[in-house]
């Protein structure tokens, strides 16, 4: 393995003839493991289908989401059933509105709340946690105390209060839900940053003279991505559940917009009249999507950190 110095030049001249062995980064390893995980891959496929369906599906609907079908009104139990002929593929709700377009529109809102909320949580939480963890000392103490205090506040209640005070709007919903979970993400990121900070490769970079912000961006953040990605995927279903919960109570998105929570709530109320489709369609979308998110999150976790299951 020892190559003496005098061979240096000739070897260098032969560089272009050598086969460069492609390296296998940790990301490549993780991706390979993920692709082999059947449950995760199926979930990814299913979820992609659901997302596509939510956004492209409405082009095929024959009714808008607020139009009332006067023909069906008055006898929803028989006339509101799902059928191809009436154009109500999923049937109608109790007010005669087309459930197909309502479910799809609700899917759009719920999914977007999930993704946007998780995005806010990730961005805010990562920045906050990295700063607290990297700079440590007083900065860290104060920042984490603030997090501790904020964690004791029953967020759901505060969010509902804010929705009541400041009028219900979709934007407020997005931001509010995102702000609930950044605390958890900040804690996790801070913990990871702390343990990374003490690793020798960070010491090596400091000893080389690399500037602080470059260390954070080039050395710390890439090594955080794994755990952040896993938690983000597990956050999304949490956000969706939170939003659905608020909508179920009637405090979420305003009519005529709807979401899975609101649809489930309506469907649950009319269950006893035999209009089960009003519950089952939104419920299925909800449950299947959540399943997919959990399997993908689990798959990511196993891919990035394989342990005995």
């Amino acid at each position: 393995m020892f190559l003496k110095n005098n061979k240096n030049n000739s070897l260098f001249n032969n560089i272009n003839n050598l086969d460069y062995i492609e390296g296998r980064s940790l990301f490549d390893d993780a991706r390979r493991r993920f692709l082999l995980n059947k449950a995760a891959m199926i979930s990814l496929l299913l979820l992609t289908l659901i997302v596509l369906f939510s956004f492209i599906g409405p082009f095929f609907s024959q009714w808008t989401n607020e139009e009332i079908d006067w023909n069906a009104l008055g006898n929803i139990a028989t006339l509101g059933k799902p059928s191809i002929s009436t154009g109500h593929f999923f049937g109608t709700d109790e007010l005669g509105r087309d459930l197909y377009s309502r479910v799809l529109q609700g899917s759009q809102i719920s999914l977007m709340v999930g993704f946007v909320g998780a995005l806010i949580a990730v961005v805010v939480g990562t920045i906050y946690g990295t700063i607290a963890g990297y700079f440590g000392g007083k900065v860290d103490s104060i920042m984490m105390r603030i997090v501790d205090v904020l964690m004791s506040i029953p967020y759901m209640f505060v969010l509902i209060i804010l929705m009541v005070i400041f009028e219900r709007s979709v934007i407020l919903l997005f931001i509010g839900i995102g702000l609930i979970s950044w605390l958890d993400m900040a804690r996790i990121v801070r913990g990871q940053t702390l343990s990374l900070k003490n690793k020798e490769f960070i010491e090596a970079s400091i000893a080389i003279g690399v500037k602080n912000y470059i260390i954070i961006v080039k050395h710390i953040v890439p090594n955080l991505l794994g755990i952040v990605a896993v938690y983000a995927t597990l956050l999304i279903p949490g956000m969706i559940i939170t939003e659905s919960f608020i909508s179920f109570l009637g405090l979420g998105v305003q009519e005529p917009l709807t979401s899975w929570g609101a649809l489930i709530s309506e469907g649950a109320r009319t269950m006893q009249y035999g209009t089960l489709w009003q519950l089952l369609f939104p419920l299925s979308f909800f449950i299947v999507s959540l399943f997919c998110f959990y399997f993908i999150g689990d798959g990511l976790r196993d891919a990035l950190d394989p342990k005995d299951r």
């Binding site: 029953p154 759901m156 209060i161 009541v164 269950m271 449950i287």
Partner: protein, 307 residues
């Protein structure tokens, strides 16, 4: 250990004060409330509030009165909506209900969750393990507001075994479905946490030492492995508790049990600010107290944290 408790208390108290003050300021700045110049409330309610808060006093005095009232007299003030009831009345009516089914839900979630998790870990990769993991995953996508209608569909409409709602002074038939609906998703999370935590502990060096000492399996699991395995579960109990209290809102709404959750939602819809603030603060107090207990429990198990 005592020093540890005192330190934790010292953080909790300012947290509580901040919560109360923030709530009051929110209430103060809310549009359409008595603190703004419109004051559209019925005169008797206004009179109550005037008497309680001294609406023309400077802000800091109002905050002081409010905080003082809560901490020392446990008095949350009059309702903004009902002229003859104070927030305390409303809370007193709803709290015992929530406490009852909430406590049961918590016990069920922890007991069954831990048992399921431990069994799954000990019998890893057996059919029991797969069943437990499957149930956990399944239950996690069934939050309370999803499970509640399904339960009613099955047990009330189809089978007719249980009433679809009401409280009836705490009759057991009225408690069953609320408890199942509330506890299930948390039981699943606890089971998964317990399982993965115990699996990790069972692979650790000190369990290998315990095996090398020739100890019987039961002793290894219950004396050596259980305590450290519980640690992540205990950390989870805080958020689980908060989640269950929040979830009680759905339970009250759907099963008409009449706990504080219901009063909260009604208050929200009716703009009864003092009630919703009061309930929020109450929940905050419960959360802080519970987190304190959880922290102490954690330190009791892990001797390294105590000092």
């Amino acid at each position: 250990m005592i020093y540890f408790i005192i330190r934790r208390l010292a953080v909790s108290i300012p947290t509580l004060l901040i919560l109360i003050i923030l709530s009051f300021i929110l209430m103060y700045s809310a549009p359409g409330g008595p603190f703004t110049s419109e004051r559209p409330l019925p005169p008797q309610v206004l009179a109550n509030i005037q008497a309680k808060y001294g609406l023309d006093d400077p802000l800091w005095k109002q905050i002081w009165d409010y905080t003082y009232g809560i901490i020392f007299n446990f008095d949350f003030g009059p309702s903004f909506r009902y002229k003859d009831r104070s927030v305390n009345d409303i809370i007193a009516q709803g709290f015992p209900v929530t406490l009852t089914y909430g406590t049961w839900s918590f016990i069920v979630a922890v007991f069954f969750g831990c048992s399921l998790g431990i069994i799954a870990a000990i019998r890893q990769n057996s059919w029991l393990d797969y069943f437990a993991v499957g149930v956990s995953i399944g239950a996690q996508v069934l939050p309370n507001f999803v499970l509640a209608p399904i339960l009613v569909l099955v047990f009330t409409l189809l089978l007719g075994w249980l009433p679809g709602g009401g409280w009836n002074g705490g009759q057991w038939q009225c408690i069953v479905m609320p408890v199942i609906a509330l506890s299930t998703s948390y039981m699943a999370s606890i089971a998964r946490l317990m399982r993965s935590s115990m699996l990790e502990v069972l692979n650790s060096n000190f369990i290998r030492t315990a095996k090398a000492k020739g100890l019987p399996v039961k002793l290894i699991i219950f004396r050596h492995a259980l305590k450290p395995s519980l640690l992540p579960v205990i950390s989870y109990l805080g958020p689980a508790f908060v989640g269950m209290i929040t979830g009680s809102v759905v339970i009250d709404l759907y099963f008409s049990t009449g706990g504080i959750g219901l009063h909260f939602v009604n208050g929200a819809l009716n703009r009864d600010y003092s009630t919703i603030m009061g309930i929020t603060i109450l929940v905050g107090i419960l959360t802080i107290t519970f987190n304190l207990i959880v922290d102490i429990l954690y330190a009791w198990i892990d001797p390294k944290i105590r000092y």
